[in-house]
């Protein structure tokens, strides 16, 4: 099963976008972790912009980076996150533990797992299909499998957005994550002028381990934040040479991915 990658978005500690980040992921520049700066999407009306939480800013920023101009309103979207908006959920849980239990209505609508999808639809003015997924540590792989299924059965480009923001407080203590990470991939069944690489995917069952990142700090991010499990795939794209990536999925399933720069793609 083959997909073309037409766009990439990336945000993480010391990874301030795909354009800058790919030289680091390819090993051509040193990796220096630094705080992630999240800005609200300029595409949203003022009311929605004020209500955006960090995780919504993250998801929309990487999604926008992956899209060529003019694509936003006609692309199907898949949002995948291992734990949703921990800050908002924690604030609600703290409120519910008080006598008054006065939940903020804005917090409540921001707490749904598909909140980024809702903001995306408004910002992109997109009425296209959008699905929001979770598969705990395997959320990136689950999103990529869904992207594969959508792109090959729906004949439409699909934007996959994987994103995680670490929890803090009581939930952070039971579910610690390494750092913020967002990865977006625009995929399509057809090659186009925007295509940068072709990837062939097979869903198998094997004991093969995940492909690691060679840089130790990046590998800590990969193992410590579920969305960052997509980094080895981005590193393969960044190297611009044929590469193979193993990405373990749920219940012993494994995605085996061969990445080829589009110039070397025979089709």
């Amino acid at each position: 099963m083959k997909l073309y990658i037409d766009g990439v978005g990336l945000l993480g500690p010391g990874l301030s976008g795909w354009t800058d980040g790919k030289t680091i992921l390819a090993g051509r520049a040193p990796y220096c972790p630094a705080e992630v700066r999240l800005a609200p999407s300029a595409l949203l009306p003022a009311a929605e912009r004020r209500r955006m939480t960090d995780i919504v800013k993250l998801a929309l920023a990487v999604g926008n980076e992956a899209l060529p101009a003019g694509f936003a309103s006609r692309t199907r979207t898949i949002f995948t996150s291992s734990g949703g908006d921990g800050a908002t959920i924690t604030a609600i849980l703290e409120t519910l533990a008080t006598e008054q239990r006065e939940v903020s209505p804005t917090r409540f609508h921001n707490s749904v797992h598909n909140a980024p999808a809702g903001y995306w639809g408004i910002a992109a003015q997109s009425r296209e299909a959008s699905i929001s997924l979770c598969a705990h540590d395997f959320s990136f792989a689950a999103g990529l499998i869904e992207a594969l299924a959508q792109a090959l059965t729906q004949d439409q480009p699909v934007l996959l957005i994987a994103y995680d923001v670490p929890y803090s407080g009581a939930l952070g203590a039971v579910r610690p994550l390494e750092g913020i990470c967002g990865i977006a991939l625009l995929v399509s069944a057809r090659r186009s002028d925007d295509s940068i690489a072709a990837m062939t995917l097979a869903l198998t069952r094997s004991d093969k381990p995940d492909t690691p990142m060679t840089e130790p700090a990046l590998d800590r991010l990969r193992t410590g934040t579920p969305a960052a499990r997509g980094l080895p795939l981005l590193a393969a794209l960044a190297r611009e040479t044929p590469s193979s990536v193993v990405l373990r999925a749920m219940a012993g399933n494994v995605l085996e991915i061969d990445v080829v720069p589009v110039e070397l793609d025979p089709a």
């Binding site: 099963m1 929605e48 209500r51 291992s82 734990g83 949703g84 959920i89 609600i92 849980l93 519910l96 533990a97 239990r101 006065e102 939940v103 903020s104 209505p105 409540f108 609508h109 707490s111 749904v112 797992h113 598909n114 909140a115 999808a117 809702g118 903001y119 639809g121 408004i122 992109a124 997109s126 009425r127 296209e128 299909a129 959008s130 699905i131 929001s132 997924l133 979770c134 598969a135 705990h136 959320s139 689950a142 499998i145 869904e146 594969l148 299924a149 959508q150 090959l152 059965t153 407080g169 009581a170 939930l171 039971v174 579910r175 869903l203 069952r205 749920m250 219940a251 012993g252 399933n253």
Partner: protein, 397 residues
């Protein structure tokens, strides 16, 4: 899409445990809503609670998954021979060839809400018996279902608010079409919790009475809970089973309008219904009954009415079953899919017993009293927060 067979299905809601109790309530128009007496909640509203969930503690190897949401899921799996049917399918296809696509909006957050009251006074930490992955995390119900059924195929939780378990059908159809699995378990669970009760109350969307879909005096929702599952298989593997209900098509869309209000003309709802008809290869005239999203909010019902009358005109029979079941949020897709399947199998349109006077402004053909008649095609609508919409079409062979 290629038609799929709902070879087995099961459901649990305030209408009853399993298909027989559900069918009986739907036919007689018995509402399962009652004044809210849930946990420590003090909100003047009605709820659709499943009785006896507290007595259904999970034990054995899956004890870590024990929470209200997974208890509801376990109850549904245990009804109507569903688990046995899946075991049979597992022998036929192999455990790794059956996918699990399960929806939920709030997973086991009730247990987290209670754990937050029990935080350590000094450290603020959660009690040692708190289980994040198995109870709180959104994936919990999918992982629980996969393990409880002994399956090993692709699995994922869909969490697109109130469209979650409807979208799970779309998810499964694509995966089967692509050959990534041969059969799929679709469904999921959403259970009562403080987050949704107090959250919808804060948005002033909960009614103080049993919710009254499409009533001229409707004033909000009643929150319910439900779990349900369907085993989806390719038609060619089911030769000769003409009685089985078919899953014919799906349509998904986004409103691109507002986080918690639908587009006033039902723009996204209309698109979801049109895509579902297109996916099923049907025209509006082929649909015998639309099970509406119909949550009984002022704007939601009006927007859906506008969308329905644009797509179908004013003759197609419509109705909402939420006056009986309450709005089961992320579970309404699978609950109403099983209701659609029961209506097709037994030839009836359920009444809307809490609706008194139908809104004079409503243009759709809202059948308040239901009907007894053969049905060949039923559409089921599920629309969620964030403007996530999904319409499904089911039919007889």
């Amino acid at each position: 899409m290629n038609r799929l067979v709902l070879s087995h299905f099961s459901v649990v809601s305030c209408l009853g445990i399993g298909l027989a109790e559900t069918l009986s309530a739907l036919r007689s128009g018995r509402s399962g809503l009652r004044p809210c007496d849930f946990e420590t909640v003090s909100i003047p509203t009605y709820i659709g609670a499943v009785d006896g969930v507290d007595d259904q503690a999970l034990t054995g190897p899956l004890v870590d998954y024990d929470c209200r949401n997974n208890r509801l899921a376990a109850l549904a799996l245990a009804q109507d021979g569903f688990s046995q049917a899946v075991a049979e399918a597992r022998r036929r296809y192999g455990a790794d060839r059956i996918g699990v696509f399960a929806g939920t909006s709030t997973s086991g957050i009730l247990e987290t809400e209670i754990a937050f009251r029990r935080r350590d006074g000094d450290t603020g930490l959660l009690p040692a018996d708190f289980r994040y992955r198995e109870r709180h995390n959104t994936y919990s119900v999918a992982e629980f279902t996969q393990r409880a059924l002994g399956l090993q195929g692709p699995a994922v939780a869909v969490s697109s608010a109130c469209a979650s378990t409807a979208m799970a059908f779309a998810n499964a159809a694509r995966m089967i079409e692509l050959g990534l699995c041969d059969a799929a378990i679709v469904g999921g669970a959403d259970s009562l919790c403080l987050t949704t009760l107090y959250g919808f109350h804060s948005l002033q969307l909960t009614s103080q009475q049993p919710c009254r879909p499409f009533d001229t005096a409707r004033d909000g929702i009643s929150i319910g809970e439900a779990a349900g599952f369907a085993l989806l298989e390719r038609e060619d593997g089911m030769a000769g089973d003409d009685a089985a209900i078919r899953f014919l098509g799906y349509g998904e869309s986004s409103d691109a309008y507002h986080m918690s209000s639908p587009h006033p003309e039902g723009r996204g709802a209309r698109l979801a219904m049109e895509k579902a008809l297109d996916s099923a290869g049907l025209t509006p005239a082929d649909i015998d009954y639309v099970n509406l999203h119909g949550t009984a909010t002022k704007v939601g019902d009006a927007a859906e009415d506008a969308a329905i009358s644009t797509v179908f005109g004013t003759a197609t029979p419509c109705g909402s079953t939420k006056g009986m079941t309450g709005h089961t949020l992320g579970a309404c897709g699978i609950l109403e899919a099983t209701i659609a399947a029961l209506c097709l199998r037994h030839g009836f349109i359920p009444p809307s017993p809490t609706t008194d006077m139908i809104d004079l402004k409503a243009r759709c053909n809202y059948l308040r009293d239901g009907a007894v008649r053969p049905l060949n095609r039923v559409m089921s609508n599920s629309f969620g927060f964030g403007g996530s919409n999904c319409s499904l079409v089911f039919g007889r062979a």
